[in-house]
Subunit: 310 residues, 2 copies
């Protein structure tokens, strides 16, 4: 679910950098780590969760906290201290008190930082109308001699907010996505489950109202359009060969793994390749045509036979 | 969030037994354990997660799986094998193929089980119109000489479904609640965060748009109505004494715990006591009057002073 939601964000971000900021509201620390991994797999640039970076070799991104600013008696000192502590990563959080006033403070501070060899890498906006603040701050930075300082936006973002900000042309270079993605807020669970399809060589299935399954061992054949996009899938019994690419392959037999573990970077490349093969409709947030999955005659026949035996 | 959602379920369940069935769709194994603990704390009777039962000393409940039925060539044999394996907990899942037909099979099997000293403890409904199935199955069990066999319902339940089933008088004795509660599906996160309120003796606060906080060390005084219900809270500075019960107390100072760890059973009792003190409106699913939280003059004055210093 998290990877799907992250993939949707990547698809509409049009190459802009996305970063996972979701740890603090994940459903526990483990869920936060898994979300960082899933979002990187789906194409995010990295995560603010340091342990996930270490555990899965994911690039780590981050900026200062509001508490860092508040712990200082004024913002300029906070910015200076942060830049000195993180000279290669001077991403300054400017919304603690007043975003535009803070942007002017950054401009005023920049020359003395430059003398010490430190460039302001980016500023972070985290509240209010992000598009409006981004335009005003971009102008302040440009006019203040900081055209290379980027703008990072955060604050209750999801794929719909990203689409709105990007479509509106807001001058934002990177987006940090947190709670909504890490908790998969609008679809926090996937209503599916493993179900027994065969036992001791005998195909079987559930027929519970609204929860019926198809019986027996299966194969899924994917059909592509002439330009290589996914067209439709056919679900059939495992020995009924159909045109197209067979998708299912055994990964374990008699307790032994049959294929090597794939690295996260390989999975990430595969996800990107597969996403590129989706139709334009499936790649948009407003999918108007669900993917076509067909059930073969042989599978329908098997279900009839199985039902007669129970 | 999970505890709040579980508490809402408990409040509208009117004493009917609730069980956590949510592990399989939790956001990771850790989240599943924490959800089992949170729902028990809020008043659930127990959980189907065995490890949570062992880790937190929570009663464990469960029934057979659909795969257990499917692994047998007929339902009656599956019911018999389960009852023999779990003679004290013969809760039979009857919706795998046809709920009412399975109820008749349970009735037909019951005498031979009784001869072996086994009583059918309950049947579980897991699909379709639960209220309708419960009425039909209740009649089949009663007419079949099993008036003491209870009915347990499960299947995408949440507090609103519980309210509907209970208000409709469905003859269901226990409810197993899963995905919607464990993932807090309609409110999967709580939009709050720790924020710095004082640093080195200096009160401070954030003023970010829509995210401003109140500065300084605080105390909260709770006012009660004449019948002991919570009436309203006053948030004030820590040394501004107000009428009512002070709610905040230090739990740690200089790295040392000041109060002993409370047992889960104590927390559960406390939760029940506190829930009983909520107004009828707050105890309903459709709260028409949000709880009244007031900010004292002294806190407002402090905010003004703090703002002048930044």
């Amino acid at each position: 679910m998290i990877a799907s939601k992250a993939a949707r964000s990547v698809l509409i971000a049009g190459g802009k950098q996305l970063i996972d900021f979701g740890l603090r509201r994940a459903h526990g620390a483990e869920a936060g780590l898994l979300a960082a991994r899933a979002s990187y797999l789906a194409g995010f640039a990295g995560t603010s969760t340091v342990l996930a970076g270490m555990a899965y070799d994911i690039p780590i991104y981050g900026t200062m906290a509001h508490s860092f600013v508040q712990a200082h008696t004024n913002e300029t000192t906070a910015f200076e201290h942060f830049a000195l502590a993180q000279p290669e990563n001077a991403v300054l959080l400017i919304d603690t008190y007043d975003t535009e006033r803070a942007a002017h403070k950054v401009v005023a501070l920049a020359p003395s930082l430059k003398q010490q060899g430190i460039a302001v890498k980016a500023v972070r906006l985290d509240s209010g109308d992000l598009a409006d603040h981004a335009r005003k701050v971009r102008r302040i930075l440009d006019e203040g001699g900081l055209p290379h300082a980027q703008i990072l936006a955060s604050g209750n973002l999801d794929e719909y907010q990203l689409q709105r900000l990007i479509a509106g042309g807001a001058p934002i270079d990177s987006f940090a996505v947190g709670t909504a993605m890490t908790t998969s807020a609008d679809a926090p669970s996937l209503d599916c489950a493993y179900k027994l399809q065969e036992y001791a060589g005998r195909p079987c299935r559930k027929r519970s109202e609204g929860k019926a399954t198809w019986p027996g061992r299966k194969q899924v054949y994917r059909q592509y359009t002439h330009d290589g996009r996914c067209d439709y899938d056919v679900v059939t019994t495992h020995n009924d060969h159909q045109p197209g690419e067979p998708l299912l392959q055994p990964v374990m037999t008699e307790g032994r793994r049959l294929v090597p573990v794939q690295k996260l970077t390989e999975l990430r490349e595969r996800a990107a390749t597969q996403l590129a093969r989706l139709s334009d409709s499936l790649r948009s947030l407003e999918c108007d045509r669900p993917y076509d999955v067909r059930i073969s005659h042989s599978l329908q026949d098997l279900a009839r036979v199985v039902d007669q035996c129970v």
